[in-house]
């Protein structure tokens, strides 16, 4: 059955794996009918999938540098696309995206456009050229193109800042899911999450992370799409929800008019004792705000997320692993295709979830019903006890109004299957999907940070004579330390202070976007320009963040540029400083210019060898 090498057999191997996973879901469904408890099913789902990832991680162990850093440069186009999609879609994407759309409406969906449109920049401006360069890490490109350890170190600095902001949130998410599924305290869940993440990455580096990410993508997409299609069919909204929810969207708009969209005052919410983080619907589902500021808010957020996407090192480094330049380009397209499958489903899930709760003609509708009836529903009882949903009878009429129903954003994904009356096996599947999404992103981020520290800081700056064995030991020690630092911070529960996931995009865009792009597209860019650009961009962005973020100085936002958009300050500063300083300093030498010429041609050998 398995003739030829591992790479030739990938479609068969992952085909079998997917089949096996579907059989597992069926077995769990049968077990549920046979009376196995919901809790046991939840544990089995998470434990079984994590064990598979760990097995893949162990089988991909390696003692070669190019396998550890580049997965041997032999990851086929489509599989690299799946791995990138898993790398990209975080626990937050999986659990919170639909909820964000549910509460935020049109203006929140700027994230959807931003987090997909960025891939056009990746494919046109960066990925193929970085692949031709043959670097191990993003700072490896900056350090070689501009020359010198100073510029390399600046790139490491931006990378660590951006990736670390992101990774604590991911470890936090693995902890939350592990804690809920296994029934252990959150602090213990975080360390269980960390061990699972390290099992997938430590022995095989990039190679192990690649093959586990492909497996994780399959789990997370199955876990996202099955409930969306099932709910849509069950409530009679349409066989293919993506194309058929027009009537439901119109119906929601009609119901919004009927119930009224009321924004509760902060004082009312506080007086009623609504737990923190829970929201009520106050924004139109499909309506668009009028006026220049609304347009600017939408577009500025999309720009930050797009440019940030094109600067995030853990994404760019996935394209170093393809066999050729053209496969790197194609692989970006496949990545976006696989991301599109989930992202285009999130608004559909939000629509289905909202119509199920709002439409009084559906058996699941709760708005407009008597509060005592709603409170006696099984799922409302259960999620209320976990402080995930809340009812506040502001007008005291005993009837649930739209503005009296509060939910946490994650509930849209986690509870909608239950609300629509799907069997518990689907909730277990969703938990496994969330775990896969959070783990795969955490893996990619931890590896991006530790590879930069081991390859760029340790090998290039501290001990260039280190042999392969020593380099790989150092790489693994740094991997464990990075993960442990992330888990430690996550376990202190201060991630809310560290701010939003969006910050990682703004940091990366402030410090890395222009040095990377100009490194390929502008031969005149110099080392001094790159250093000055990175440092000033990062400093300007960070200073503005401190100036504007409510928990820091909390000043009013300038031109609507709030803490989610501070990259719009950092990146232009970086560009201007980099161009001015480059023009003031001596042009790069002939060898560097030749190197840039060589990068622009897809054929021929990579600039940096397989082992370097």
């Amino acid at each position: 059955m398995f003739k030829g090498g591992f790479i030739q057999n990938l479609p068969k191997i992952y085909g079998l794996y997917t089949g096996g996973f579907l059989v597992f879901i069926l077995m769990m469904a049968i077990a549920e009918q046979a009376g196995v408890t919901a809790k046991t099913i939840g544990i089995l789902f998470v434990a079984f999938t994590v064990a598979i990832y760990a097995l893949i991680g162990y089988l991909s162990r390696t003692i070669q540098v190019d396998a550890y850093y580049l997965a041997g440069r032999q990851v086929p186009t489509v599989f690299n696309g799946m791995a990138t999609a898993a790398d990209w879609m975080s626990g937050a994407s999986f659990v919170a995206l639909a909820g964000g759309v549910y509460f935020g409406g049109y203006s929140y969906m700027a994230f959807l456009v931003g987090w997909t449109g960025g891939y056009v920049l990746v494919s046109t401006l960066l990925a193929p050229y970085l692949r031709k360069f043959g670097c191990y890490t993003v700072p490896d490109f900056i350090g070689t193109r501009y020359g010198g350890n100073g510029v390399r170190f600046c790139a490491v600095l931006v990378l660590v800042l951006a990736s670390f902001t992101y990774v604590t949130a991911q470890i936090n998410a693995t902890g939350t899911i592990a804690a809920r599924a296994l029934g252990i305290p959150f602090e213990a869940g975080v360390w269980v999450g960390l061990v699972s993440i390290l099992l997938c990455s430590m022995l095989g580096g990039m190679r192990a992370v690649t093959w586990t990410q492909v497996a994780q993508y399959i789990v997370l997409i199955v876990a996202y799409l099955i409930p969306v299609f099932w709910i849509s069919n069950k409530i009679g909204a349409g066989v293919f929800p993506h194309l058929m929810l027009g009537d439901e969207v119109a119906r929601i708009t009609e119901l919004e008019g009927q119930f009224g969209l009321v924004k509760n005052s902060a004082a009312d919410v506080k007086a009623a004792g609504v737990p923190g983080g829970l929201k009520s619907i106050a924004v139109a589902h499909a309506g668009v705000g009028a006026g220049g500021m609304a347009v600017w808010k939408y577009i500025s957020l999309a720009i930050c997320m797009m440019v940030g996407t094109a600067s995030l090192p853990h994404i760019l480094m996935r394209y170093f692993t393809t066999p050729s330049v053209k496969s790197a380009r194609k692989s970006v397209a496949w990545s976006l295709f696989f991301i599109f499958l989930l992202y285009s489903s999130a608004p559909m899930l939000a629509t289905l979830s909202k119509i199920s709760l709002m439409d009084p003609n559906l058996p699941t509708g709760i708005i407009g019903k008597s509060i005592s009836d709603v409170q006696s529903l099984e799922w409302v009882k259960q999620w209320s006890s976990q402080k995930q949903v809340f009812i506040a009878d502001f007008n005291g009429d005993g009837i649930l109004q739209l503005n009296e129903w509060f939910m946490r954003t994650g509930v849209v994904v986690l509870a909608t299957p239950e609300v629509a009356g799907l069997p518990y096996v689907i909730s277990g599947l969703v938990a496994a999907g969330g775990m896969a999404a959070a783990m795969s992103t955490a893996d990619g981020l931890v590896l991006a940070i530790s590879n930069a520290l081991s390859h760029d800081v340790y090998y290039n700056m501290i001990d260039p004579k280190a042999d392969v064995r020593k380099r790989l030991i150092v790489a693994r020690v740094l991997l464990i330390l990075t993960g442990a630092a992330g888990a430690y911070i996550a376990s202190m529960r201060i991630t809310s202070i560290l701010g939003a996931v969006a910050w990682a995009f703004d940091f990366a865009m402030s410090g890395l976007f222009f040095p990377l792009v100009l490194g390929v597209w502008w031969k005149r860019a110099t080392r001094e320009g790159a250093i000055a650009g990175m440092l000033s961009g990062l400093a300007a962005g960070t200073a503005y963040l401190i100036y504007v973020y409510p928990k820091f100085l909390g000043n009013p936002a300038w031109l609507g540029i709030d803490h989610l958009r501070f990259g719009l300050i950092g990146a232009p500063v970086c560009l201007v400083v980099m161009v001015v300083v480059s023009l003031m300093t001596k042009a790069p030498d002939a060898a560097t210019q030749r190197m840039v010429d060589e990068v622009r041609v897809p054929s021929g050998k990579a600039i940096l060898g397989r082992a370097h």
Binding site: V113, L245, G246, K326, R329, V332, S344, M348, S603
Partner: protein, 84 residues
């Protein structure tokens, strides 16, 4: 102009063309979000549809188109890659 320079000229042109399409679907149409939301596509309000699905799909198509055309440009100037 050398072969390499010509190849780079054409590559740059293709890049700019791709980014124009990208800017249209990521920014230009949302400049008119309020105005176009009265129109409908597949039964959805148009601006809602574009931000929920339409632009995302456009990006997927743009990148596949970009990659295929760039491969042709590379082959035209003899820079196509043999492996794969």
């Amino acid at each position: 102009m050398s072969n390499k320079e010509k190849h780079w000229q054409k590559t740059k042109g293709h890049m700019i063309m791709t980014l124009v399409l990208w800017a249209f679907f990521s920014m230009v149409i949302f400049l008119f979000g309020y105005e176009i939301n009265g129109m409908s596509f597949l039964g959805y309000p148009l601006a809602y549809y574009m931000t929920a699905q339409g632009s995302l799909l456009a990006f997927v198509i743009i990148i596949f188109w970009f990659a295929n055309k760039q491969e042709k440009i590379d082959e035209e100037f003899g820079f196509g890659e043999k492996e794969d």
